[in-house]
Symmetry: C2
């Protein structure tokens, strides 16, 4: 077999017109059972596969949606992607995935590629400030939904998670379990997520007259950064130790946990309660299973697709910004002091 079969080959083989073959594929109800059978048989025998380029060219629109994330390795995005794919499948669309890796150049490449492919629309978790590029997309009429980033509602729809609420949730949980001398670990605070989570925590702490919140700025958001903050706490000694620690993400929390438990100086949660953020897979299998704040990633992905579908279907551009509230996951690291 030399060339892949075309719809014309199928038509000849089944002794029908090309339009009929097309109808079998797109509007089966318009075709009688008898000819439908013949055509399907011919398709099977010739191994015909629809040429999407031709279909798209004629139909004027594709069946694909572009999705550009900052890092496919990040479980947060992995989960969003999975949900988006499933939701898109329900709409009969497929997702083309691009990984910008926080690199503006790669992101630009993907935007160009997806434009050339004439995707139905674009879901993007943008690198830094790309207002100009996104404005261009808007002018070109490519419906776009921002993921994990709030947008000017006059211009774009967006889905995001309320980090302030997440911070509040974490701190409130520590307070509810009787902790009063809290510490926040995270940094740099120039990162919006970190700042918002801190702000939420502060809001919760203000509700309790006798509660305090100390901010321990970390150098980055890694296990090692967490461990060095933890080591510092160990050195400060027992009387200066907070009784509840909220870390801006789980990696930091795992690092802090390593420092505090490695030396066997302190016990979690008896001496100090610990809560992280993101609920990564490792949280549950830490030495002391880690309480955390879980982001509704499936809902994010699903809703992003739905917002995009809205934009695609309706002509007049009414944008919506959907904000989700994260969820508290309680594990042993913030259990009520069990040692008694």
């Amino acid at each position: 077999m030399n060339r892949t079969a075309s719809i014309k080959d199928v038509a000849n083989h089944a002794s029908v017109a090309v339009g009929t073959v097309s109808n079998v594929l797109n509007y089966p109800d318009r075709v009688s059972q008898r000819t439908k059978d013949r055509v399907l048989k011919a398709i099977d025998e010739l191994g015909f596969v629809r040429n999407d380029a031709a279909r798209q060219l004629r139909a004027g629109h594709s069946r694909t949606i572009g999705l550009i994330v900052l890092d496919v390795g990040n479980p947060f995005f992995t989960s969003v992607v999975r949900a988006a794919e499933d939701a898109a499948a329900l709409h009969g669309s497929a997702v083309l995935l691009g990984d910008s890796g926080h690199d503006a150049g790669r992101e630009a490449n993907y935007i160009d590629l997806f434009q050339e492919q004439r995707v139905q629309g674009l879901l993007i978790s943008p690198v830094g400030d790309v207002t100009e590029r996104l404005d261009l997309l808007r002018e070109r009429g490519v419906p776009t939904v921002l993921v994990d980033r709030l947008a000017d509602e006059a211009k774009f729809s967006s889905v995001a998670v309320d980090d302030d609420a997440g911070g509040y949730l974490a701190a409130r949980h520590l307070l509810d379990t009787g902790r009063r001398r809290l510490a926040f670990v995270g940094g740099p605070t120039s990162i919006r997520q970190v700042a918002d989570r801190l702000q939420g925590a502060q809001r919760a702490v203000k509700e309790e007259a006798d509660a305090t919140l100390e901010v321990l700025e970390s150098e980055g958001q890694t296990v090692l950064a967490g461990r060095s903050v933890g080591n510092m706490l160990v050195e400060r000694g027992r009387e200066n130790l907070p009784d509840g620690i909220f870390c801006a993400n789980d990696l930091l929390a795992l690092g802090v946990m390593q420092s505090l438990t490695m030396t066997h100086t302190y016990r979690i949660p008896d001496d100090v309660a610990l809560i992280g953020y993101d609920d990564i897979d490792f949280a549950v299998s830490a030495v002391v299973p880690l309480s955390s704040i879980r982001q509704p990633t499936e809902a994010l992905g699903r809703t992003a697709i739905e917002l995009l579908a809205e934009e695609v279907e309706s002509q007049n551009p009414t944008h919506r910004a959907v904000v989700f509230t994260p969820e508290l996951v309680v594990r042993q690291s913030t259990g009520t002091s069990s040692a008694g």
Copy 2:
């Protein structure tokens, strides 16, 4: 602006023929500087973006390569993807990424989608046994390279990593640092990777007359599975403890490490050396930085693209199977007994 500009609009706007616009885009050398400038200006003013569907339809082939992996969340695949994207970019192609999530249905959907898109070729890390489906692809003339899976060289090219060599490397390292009573942790051994790594380890142990290798089968490849094996070891007591442990992956090793160090009964590497496999990000930030076997994921991704390019360019199907040897990464967990 209603409709996106076509090449014809550009031609009108610049007062040239459509063929000239096409030449500007594809063969700039054939066009004089003067008209090139005029055309580029028109392209800019109209915001023209090439319609890839039309180009592909006429040109007969696309500029995209399909890549289907088992799990984008797995750092192994993330790294392969990244390398493949970069290598493809050098060839002027873009990678469309599909995540089968170990699900044959999703995999089939992506294969269909990519066929309809008429990708240049397919890189796939297949779910289970898909010989039939892949044979179909071969008949249809879609060049295919298997990733992380050896293939019948008469049919497909493939890239893979030599797990036997990796197992040998790990065990040999333990032996070289003076350990003699080794243990292998992993399971189920029905997984090819696990079996091969074990086999390699056994080969190394046979080289030393006084060395032994005990197999501790785990239930899965998770931190928790590792921890339960570790707890079992702790209970066995010091005299029955191996002095070197090789885990089939890093998660298991981290679990074993938790058990052994949590109780402060044993010290790593003084009482027992520990080495994992995969060199995940967490390995370096474990309580005791974990030695591991690193797979050459970048080389895998790059080579897969190159093999595919070979198949696309040459007509006669000569397939190659490229096998890479993994690399030993020494960290503290197998350091020579420093406590002395």
